[in-house]
Symmetry: C2
Subunit: 333 residues, 2 copies
């Protein structure tokens, strides 16, 4: 649906985490991104060549993708000049922000005038049902985290890759803007109306072959007070057979909540598993995924060994090591 | 905002539970309802005089309130004839259904032609923030249930009444269509976009005097897989100081989920309290509210005594007994 390749717009992202949309595209579909576009003061860098809009066009880019997630998701005036210029030059725009491209009159005018398309991937495209809780055929696995932005999507994408390599049947099910931008489809769960959240997850993960796995992208955390309701809907709508615990060990406070410390992996396990067993009494925690990006190799190795001993579960960093051991644990389930 | 008194439209409600909107208005603001209007086959009766539209007008009614909550919230064609006729006769319409009055072209046409107003109380009227989790001054109490429709709103309204009688400062905070129709304001939480649910609850229960209590209307249940995300947002956005457990002992399966049994009160306590302590470590469960409407006096008394002994908490049916003992427990906190 969205024309590739992309030029990734990082804007004035204050830090690397704010650019996780662009980072995800670069890491999982690098062939889809010709470069990155940054404004002065941008604190993020996803490791692509910095390009102007013209350089992006010259490299073949068709769509300028807003690769930065703001708190609140507002399109600032600083961005507008660039976005309008991109439309004038023939780009399409794609965005996963709450503040929709189509809500901005100057953008819709420029798009109409220059024949560009505005893709708001955050907008739900279907009328989701209310969840009915009925057991569906096929298997499902969900990543649950100690916090937001600890690597749940990475874990799911790496697991999908590892399972396919083993010859297992699997489908990555995107529930957020990055996943949707990467795969081209999914449910933008945080934009769904409250009553239909769990139903949207049921819709996203329908009945399937008995040996097929849906790998559901997690969102938020049961311990993140801003978004815990979304996480809950994933657990109850997804009726997972398996949970993977995700954590970023150097994080000191919850993302966006400076007064909140992180829970332990044990707390997440002991909170999420009983809730997951309401729709699926057979659910098990099968592994731990640690985001060790801020650790040295030696630190990461030590930490993973410690967690593995403590929780008696395969514990890996899927970005450093791949997710083979998690795929193996699912195959053994 | 909505002109009173009302004629309560029960439509073709299949059972009494489906008419809980009308029942709530009749029980808590009886002076606002002149009668009930029922279609053939209606399985609900809130105990008001059956009236035609003309009889309602003659009795002074200004607004026809849709007092029935369907699963999915669709306005059926069977209802349309009545609603259009009501507009032709000079009524306003008010509704809390997902399927909005304003989305139905025949209703908007009739309203324009005859000068009537369409009130969709389910539609959020404000742009809610993302929750920030910061501790707010003032006290808050939240009812959490084993299931939907077990008496959480009744408990909150009865508690509000009991607290005011004791001279305590309290405000009932409506989070659903019935509560909003009764009090004229609130947040229609199940219609809020997922990311803003907890923020909407923070917005609804702002900083207040240290001795003021917000009595937050509960929604859904942590054990109801269709709506548990909404319940979670209430627990984390409301940061309650006190929880009240609500239960209907004759219910055999979860509302709308025939394959799911109900949890015990102990399970609700042990699940909800640790989650409530994430934003508010001081939170306590202070009492139990039992909906004994399907029990005899003797059965109710026996059951309440058994629960009180088992949970070591004041256990009352606020509809039969008032909520004085719950108010007392809050005063003692």
């Amino acid at each position: 649906m969205i024309e590739t390749p992309y030029l990734l717009f990082l804007g004035d992202a204050p830090d690397q985490l704010a650019a996780k949309v662009a980072q995800g595209i670069k890491d999982w579909r690098p062939e889809n991104a010709v470069g990155q576009f940054r404004l002065p003061g941008c604190g993020a860098d996803v490791g692509l060549t910095d390009m102007s809009l013209q350089q992006g066009l010259d490299a073949g880019a068709r769509t300028l993708v807003i690769g930065v997630a703001n708190r609140g998701g507002v399109i600032s005036q600083d961005w507008k000049d660039v976005l309008i210029q991109a439309l004038e030059m023939g780009y399409d725009l794609a965005s996963g922000l709450h503040n929709l491209l189509r809500e901005e009159r100057d953008l819709t005018s420029a798009a109409q005038m220059h024949g560009g398309t505005l893709h708001d991937v955050r907008v739900p495209t279907d009328a989701y049902p209310i969840a009915n809780g009925r057991k569906r055929s096929g298997k499902r696995v969900l990543a649950v985290g100690t916090d937001c932005s600890v690597g749940k999507m990475y874990t799911a994408l790496a697991l999908d890759e590892a399972m396919r390599k083993r010859g297992m049947k699997s489908t990555f099910r995107a529930t957020g803007q990055t996943g949707i931008l990467i795969t081209g489809h999914g449910v933008p769960l945080d934009a769904v109306i409250a009553d239909f959240m769990a139903g949207a997850v049921e819709y996203l993960t329908p009945e399937n072959a008995a040996d097929h796995w849906d790998i559901i992208e997690g969102q938020g955390s049961l311990f993140h007070v801003s978004y815990s309701g979304v996480t809950m809907a994933l657990i109850h709508g997804g009726q997972p057979d398996a949970l993977i615990l995700c954590h970023e060990p150097t994080r000191e406070t919850m993302r966006g909540l400076p007064e909140y410390g992180l829970p332990t992996l044990e707390q997440v396990r002991d909170t999420a598993l009983p809730l997951a067993r309401i729709p699926n009494p057979a659910c098990e925690v099968i592994g731990v995924s640690i985001n060790t990006q801020h650790m040295s190799d030696a630190e990461a190795e030590r930490y993973l060994a410690e967690v593995e001993a403590r929780l008696a579960l395969p514990s890996v960093d899927p970005f450093r090591q791949g997710a083979d051991r998690l795929a193996e644990a699912l195959a053994a389930l």
